[in-house]
């Protein structure tokens, strides 16, 4: 901050980002083009989910609404959000999926949420994927006995500290009382056992599962151990799942600064850490969508305040570290943080500069998650790339428009399904972390708690915002915008790449990562360079189908101003030329 108050160097903006040289296309026209083929009813719905951005007054977006049957979506189910995303990464409890075999199989280590073996715990339970594997007789006669037997057996095999049970769709219908089975097993076996009613059909996406998971973790795990860690400056990092080792990267930087992580929810986390995470001094929320409930509940019950931060992107990492420093208001810590930032940036700058040269002027679009489509824009900004379109897969309005719209969000039938648990201040354990005076002073200094402003205010005017993007819209986007890279998930990846655009998976990172903090940022820039500048995209059209190379055809004098203009025109034509254009692509409807 301090070093940025001076005039920025040429080509950089006031925040220190290189100014992108690509220009934002006319998104109003693009939007109309994308929407025009939908029949009226579908169009009315999609119009609310496909907007052109205005950062000053973000328009209202129709997020978190059910996908229309027959429209192929990237979204997953409630179970996936609960078992797969939020609780799955806890590595020393056993996870048992109560249901038929598939739901559990598909959530078996597919997210690349990493965990290291611990010295005191040789087994990493993440490699086990347990299910009651319900058979017809269980559906007909009920699966409670089978579940009870599975829990007993699982306990006998592994003697875990806790067991979590997840219900899938059929379980909700046949009416198994999973919670009663868990209570009984808990009494019988003497370990913590709890269930989640996270049947897939309950919500419109995995988002409902996040909420259910937050509630369960809070009810059954948080607050069981009041012994705080001994270290100073204790924080929890919330909404960080250690995909590709992201959490480790953040840990490393925080540790260098002298900030102690009590718990990361829930990347590479142990049961023990969760039970005492309420003893931390501050909650730092990364993925607002998946975990804001937890932050709120911990604040109400135990007095742990929360702030929003982001460790994706170098500038953002520095900003977040400074924010944490400011909260603790400790001179030594603040100085240390500045030292670390200076060190890390000195190492990163040459890479960033090198990659900026290769990437500035390129454009990107991203459709993923409930936070990454926002956070990753900063990594692109770091190297001068322009985000031309972005949207979430399962976020809510507040993730787009900011928390200020929370009171105005309408509750629909799907959201009503999800339990809101009543939380009160704990009579003994509620400890305000700051005095009212300290809070006032912080606020006066521009420090905001619970301050998520959403994606839209940080995006350029006229960027396209597309919630729960459909196939048709993705296809149109590629046709109209020709972004240099698209970030999405595995379900779109190969469609996008077949169309000649590189696609980076931002759920599982393909094989890569980490991408957080400084080292992670360098990884990501290089990955972008690899993907965008690979030669393979130029090899797609065989020589016998290529139009004559204009530069060869024109021979010498090629760089004369007139020829240059001609060359650009011809090259433009060549670019627009597509071999064997197949059936007209304008018949899609929803």
């Amino acid at each position: 901050m301090s070093d940025l108050s001076t005039t920025p160097p040429e080509g950089y903006d006031s925040e220190g980002y290189p100014i992108p040289t690509a220009t934002q296309p006319d998104s109003e026209a693009m939007r109309a083009e994308m929407l025009k083929i939908y029949p009226q009813k579908t169009r009315r719905k999609r119009e609310k989910q496909l907007l052109t951005n205005n950062p000053e007054t973000p328009p209202e977006i129709g997020a978190n609404t059910r996908t229309i049957p027959g429209i192929i979506t990237q979204r997953g189910c409630t179970y996936a959000g609960c078992r797969g995303v939020v609780i799955g990464p806890i590595h020393d409890i056993l996870h048992i999926t109560h249901g038929p075999v598939g739901c559990s199989y598909y959530s078996w280590l597919t997210r690349r949420n990493l965990a290291r073996p611990k010295p005191d715990q040789p087994i990493n339970f993440l490699q086990y994927c347990m299910t009651t594997d319900m058979q017809e007789e269980d559906i007909v006669f009920g699966g409670e006995k089978k579940l009870a037997a599975a829990i007993r057996e699982a306990y006998a095999m592994f003697k875990p500290k806790a067991i979590a049970v997840y219900s899938t769709c059929p379980v909700g219908l046949i009416g198994d009382d999973v919670h009663a089975v868990c209570r009984q097993a808990k009494a019988e076996l003497g370990i913590n056992i709890f269930g989640f009613s996270c049947e897939g059909y309950k919500g419109v996406s995995q988002s409902a599962g996040h909420h259910i998971a937050n509630n369960g973790v809070f009810k059954h795990m948080v607050g069981l151990n009041d012994e705080p860690d001994k270290e100073k400056f204790r924080i929890n990092v919330l909404g960080e799942y250690n995909i590709g080792g992201d959490a480790w990267e953040i840990d490393t930087v925080l540790k260098k600064c002298g900030i102690h992580v009590t718990a990361t929810l829930s990347g590479d986390i142990s049961y023990e850490q969760i039970t005492k995470c309420h003893t931390a001094d501050l909650n730092v929320v990364l993925c607002h969508r998946s975990i804001n409930y937890m932050a709120e509940m911990m604040e109400t019950k135990f007095g742990v305040p929360w702030i929003k931060a982001n460790f994706t992107g170098a500038e953002q990492t520095s900003k977040s570290l400074r924010k944490i420093g400011k909260y603790f208001d400790d001179k030594q810590l603040i100085d240390r943080i500045e030292e670390v930032i200076a060190q890390e940036m000195a190492a990163l700058k040459p890479v960033q500069e090198e990659m900026r040269k290769r990437l500035q002027g390129k454009t990107a679009a991203m459709f993923v998650g409930g936070s990454r489509a926002h956070h990753y824009q900063h990594l692109f900004k770091d190297v001068g790339m322009l985000t031309v379109a972005a949207g979430y897969e399962f976020a809510h309005r507040d993730d787009y428009e900011g928390r200020k719209v929370l009171p105005t969000i309408k509750i629909d039938a799907d959201s009503r399904n999800i339990e809101e648990i009543e939380v009160e201040a704990d009579p003994k354990r509620f400890v305000p972390r700051k005095t009212p005076e300290q809070l006032e002073a912080l606020k006066a200094g521009g420090f905001n708690f619970k301050d998520y402003d959403g994606m839209m205010v940080e995006m350029k005017k006229s960027t396209l915002v597309i919630d729960d993007i459909s196939h048709h819209e993705m296809e149109k986007l590629i046709e109209l915008y020709k972004p240099d890279i698209i970030c999405s998930g595995i379900k779109d990846k190969f469609v996008i790449e077949k169309l000649g655009v590189p696609c980076k998976q931002l759920h599982s990172y393909d094989y890569g990562g980490p991408y957080t903090a400084y080292t992670g940022a360098a990884n990501f820039y290089k990955e972008l360079d690899r993907m965008i500048n690979t030669k393979v995209w130029k090899l797609i059209t065989p020589s016998w189908k290529k139009p004559a190379d204009p530069t060869i055809a024109m021979g010498k004098g090629i760089d004369s101003p007139t020829n240059k203009t001609i060359r650009e025109v011809v090259a433009g034509m060549a670019k627009a030329w597509k071999p064997q254009k197949s059936a007209p692509a304008s018949s899609a409807e929803g």
Partner: protein, 467 residues
Amino acid sequence: MSCSSCKPQVGPEEEGKEEFPGPTTNACKLCTPLGACLAYKGIAGTIPFLHGSQGCATYIRRYLISHFREPMDIAASNFAEHSAVFGGREVLHTGIENVSRQYKPELIGIATTCLSETIGENMPQLLHEYKNRTDVSHDAALVHVSTPSFKGTHVDGYHKAVRSIVESLAEAGPENVAGPVALMPGFVSAEDLRHLRELFAAYELPLTMVPDYSETMDGGSWAAYERIPVGGTTVEAVKALGSARAAIECGHILATTSKTAGAHLADKFSVPLHRIGLPIGLRETDRLCEVMGSIASRETPAAVEAARGRLIDAMVDGHKYVFNQRAVVYGDEDMVIGLTSFLCEIGVTPVLCASGGRSRHFAAELRKLVPELPESTIIREGADFSTIGTEAEALNPDLLIGNSKGYSLARRLKIPLIRCGFPIHDRMGGHRILHVGYRGALALYDTIVNAILERKQDTSSIGYAYL
């Protein structure tokens, strides 16, 4: 497939104790509709459609995609709580209508999920109602199959969908027309399907494969957006199967069930049916060649003979390396039978043959088809990787043969994993592994021998460079 129906009814607890105690830990099977969706992808212009929650479609897509590295669209009727309670008629109809308009498919391949099966959706009735509606599009043929995952595995879903496709589409043709051979190849790789086509071409036998996803699930890059990737057996071709000159169905376990696509063609249209195994290894490929030869009434083509010759020659050359190696084989039942038969041919001893399938015929078929299988070989059906792991640890094998899910076991035992079957998501080209035919056997053979040599080199203190 006959999991619960062909044995006396027992209470769940009793059964749990007797046979499958405790949870399934690291399953060695996937869920039923996944197989159905893959089968549907082998019919040209088809969109698979799951009647149930969107989550199953998403999960199944991501799994098939991680193996094939190709686009894989599956639509869903996207149940909400309301439809789960009151039935999914509305969402099914809206879904079909939307898919028809968006994708203009020739066929919509519908499969049920556990959810719609649990509430007992009457699919024929619901589809009948759709067909009677006047306000919707009727361009696509509708095929449906019942695929609850609490009954059977992905392989069962696959075969059931194949049966449904043939049953709903095949029509009686003109008399005295010898149409193409109907081949039901089983759950094999895209490369396998291509090779089978080549083999039939060598015999100059016209062929209709149900399904054929060799292009839809392993295609080139696109010049323009392909709403439904090109390739697959056409609906027309399946329709014409009523006059197929013969039908061949691959899979010994499949042959233990009566309701198959081949059986339907035989029963309804009197198409002569040949039931063989997956043509993996020498004997099982010989069997396929015999059948092709008899249908075509011709000698084995020279190229095929030559391929067989090369395989035998390689087996002679490499015998010393593979002889008496001990292998653990796991995966789909029919795949394991084929691989086991082949391993015995080349002198490798399968010490454990395991599958997550529960046909109740696995052991008997293995013993019957591979008589040289040592008596001590352990055969497990309904197995998960927890069982396979425990058994394998005691057996001290040299090799693991099966899909990617055995990787952590191979790592634990410090032995090579020869990747075969489905799913393979930790290597490139899992869908291009060739298992079938003499050429497939040869490719497998080279892979196995080389894995053994590599291990020998890696673990040697001297480091032989010349083997």
